[in-house]
């Protein structure tokens, strides 16, 4: 969506809230109209922040994938892991990088818990993922609140 879309949605939300909803006599329908206004406002914010959030997400995922690959390589080189970093975890990181999507971090997390979440390498990896997820949920909260 474009900046114009955002402004249009925002104006629609205002119209529904301030002009349409108050004119509705039926309580259920009036509440629904106010809900429609809230939803339009959320969509307006989603549209407003879409490009900015997408860029931040792409940068965060790329940096996270670099960080995890480096950590795994370091663990391999040092031979300090009792068990090698599992292949499914490495593959999950590769797919996350390729998809460049925060959603793909779910697979990384599942692989981390499937390995051994108390292992030092896994713990550090989970902390790194959580840092990215924190930033992501903070961005989403800009829209949700």
């Amino acid at each position: 969506m474009t900046a114009d879309d955002h402004e249009l949605l925002s104006r629609l939300a205002d119209t529904v809230r301030n002009q349409i909803a108050p004119a509705v006599d039926d309580e259920y329908a009036r509440t629904q109209a106010f809900m429609a206004s809230v939803i339009l406002q959320r969509l307006a914010k989603q549209s407003q922040f879409a490009d900015e959030h997408r860029a931040a997400e792409t940068a965060d995922i790329a940096a996270l994938a670099d960080q995890l690959d480096a950590a795994f390589a370091q663990a391999d080189a040092a031979g300090e892991t009792e068990a090698a970093v599992p292949e499914d975890l490495r593959d999950a990181v590769t797919r996350m990088r390729q998809r460049s999507s925060i959603a793909a971090a779910s697979e990384v997390i599942t692989a981390l818990y499937g390995w051994d979440p108390s292992h030092p390498v896994a713990r550090a990896a989970l902390a790194a993922v959580r840092g990215v997820l924190r930033r992501d949920i903070d961005r989403r909260m800009e829209i949700a609140q």
Partner: protein
């Protein structure tokens, strides 16, 4: 608009079919007059209707207030909240100390009352919403009078003191021991998430992984209400006259309910647990009444499980609107409530 699967009948239509239904159930000598039909608490799960019936038993005029719950088939938690199970639970609770409505009839055939339904006793009392200022003021005033906090605590103790095997409640499913209870709950809410069609979020994967990895051993099994708070109990003369919303009950860890009482989610701007009970009073009275020690570590675990449950609720709700099953825009709005639930989970997981 009538969404797919939604219950049918307006006030007058429902009164008509109820009259026919009750005439048969009550073995009335003549028609049953239905009056005062009122739909209350435009809820997110089942429809709830109150009404009064007047009939003749052949000798005298009889009059009774009833409550009807109908399952429209397109409401939140429809998968977890079968009216047949609710009816069975209420029948099992009748001989116990738990204040609960007496259930009279369960009608599974949607053709009869427009949807599967239970007809039950209308218990006197009110149920102020703790999410509204008026409700919170009501509970604050009741807390100052002192009777309701004790009664609220006692009613939960009564739930946990039920001899659930003797009451026949083992049909709810009995966890096998160790961490089985927590793992069952996780699996239940994960299934709801999967069914919702919501894309999910990695925080949820983290939360589920953490919950599985830290699932506590359940040392004692009791009947668990699953949503025990103000707003889900009926209050009459400052006492709990009925525990309502038997939709999420399980046999499980009593700390699951205690955690729900302790959580900050169920109170707003007050230290009173569930808006009504001083913490010290709750701990002392609950432990004395049940002989169960409150385990704060397990409660903290269950609060994270509630974060998962909240996310599952909202995903399911948003999915109902998204797939066209339900046209209520309140459900559509919950798409963004998922984000709020996940943010809380992230904070509680320490990030």
């Amino acid at each position: 608009m009538s969404a797919a699967g939604a219950a049918t009948h307006d006030h007058a239509g429902l009164a008509g079919v109820l009259s026919d239904y009750l005439a048969e159930q009550l073995d009335a000598a003549g028609p049953v007059a239905i009056s005062g039909m009122e739909r209350i608490a435009v809820g997110w799960s089942h429809e709830t209707w109150l009404f009064e019936a007047v009939w003749s038993d052949g000798a005298d005029e009889q009059r009774q207030a009833f409550c009807l719950r109908r399952d429209p088939g397109n409401a939140l938690l429809r998968q977890e909240s079968d009216l047949g199970e609710q009816f069975r639970v209420l029948k099992c609770l009748e001989p116990t100390e738990v204040p609960a409505p007496r259930a009279y009839w369960y009608e599974p055939d949607p053709e009869v009352l427009g949807a599967p339904a239970i007809v039950m006793e209308r218990v006197p009392g009110e149920c102020p919403s703790p999410w509204r200022r008026a409700g919170r003021d009501y509970y604050t005033a009741a807390a100052e009078r002192g009777v309701l906090p004790a009664s609220f605590t006692d009613a939960l103790a009564a739930v946990h003191n039920v001899d659930w095997r003797a009451a026949g409640l083992d049909f709810l499913g009995v966890p096998s021991g160790d961490s089985d209870f927590a793992l069952r709950e996780i699996a239940k809410w994960e299934a709801l998430i999967d069914e919702s069609g919501h894309p999910g979020h990695p925080i949820l994967a983290d939360l589920i992984g953490w919950l599985r990895h830290h699932a506590p051993v359940t040392e004692q099994l009791t009947l668990v209400h699953g949503a025990y708070r103000t707003g889900n109990v009926l209050i009459h003369e400052d006492r709990v006259s009925a525990v309502l919303d038997w939709e999420l009950q399980v046999i499980g860890d009593p700390m699951y309910d205690v955690a729900y009482v302790l959580t900050e989610l169920n109170r707003e701007g007050t230290e009173l647990l569930s808006n009504v009970v001083p913490r010290g009073l709750f701990f002392e009275r609950y432990q004395q009444a049940t002989g169960i020690d409150i385990d704060l570590e397990r409660c903290a675990y269950y609060q994270l499980l509630y974060a998962m449950r909240s996310a599952a609720f909202w995903m399911s709700a948003a999915g109902l609107y998204a797939d066209g099953s339900n046209s209520d825009l309140r459900l559509a709005r919950t798409h963004w409530s998922v984000t709020v639930a996940l943010e809380r989970a992230a904070t509680e997981l320490g990030y």
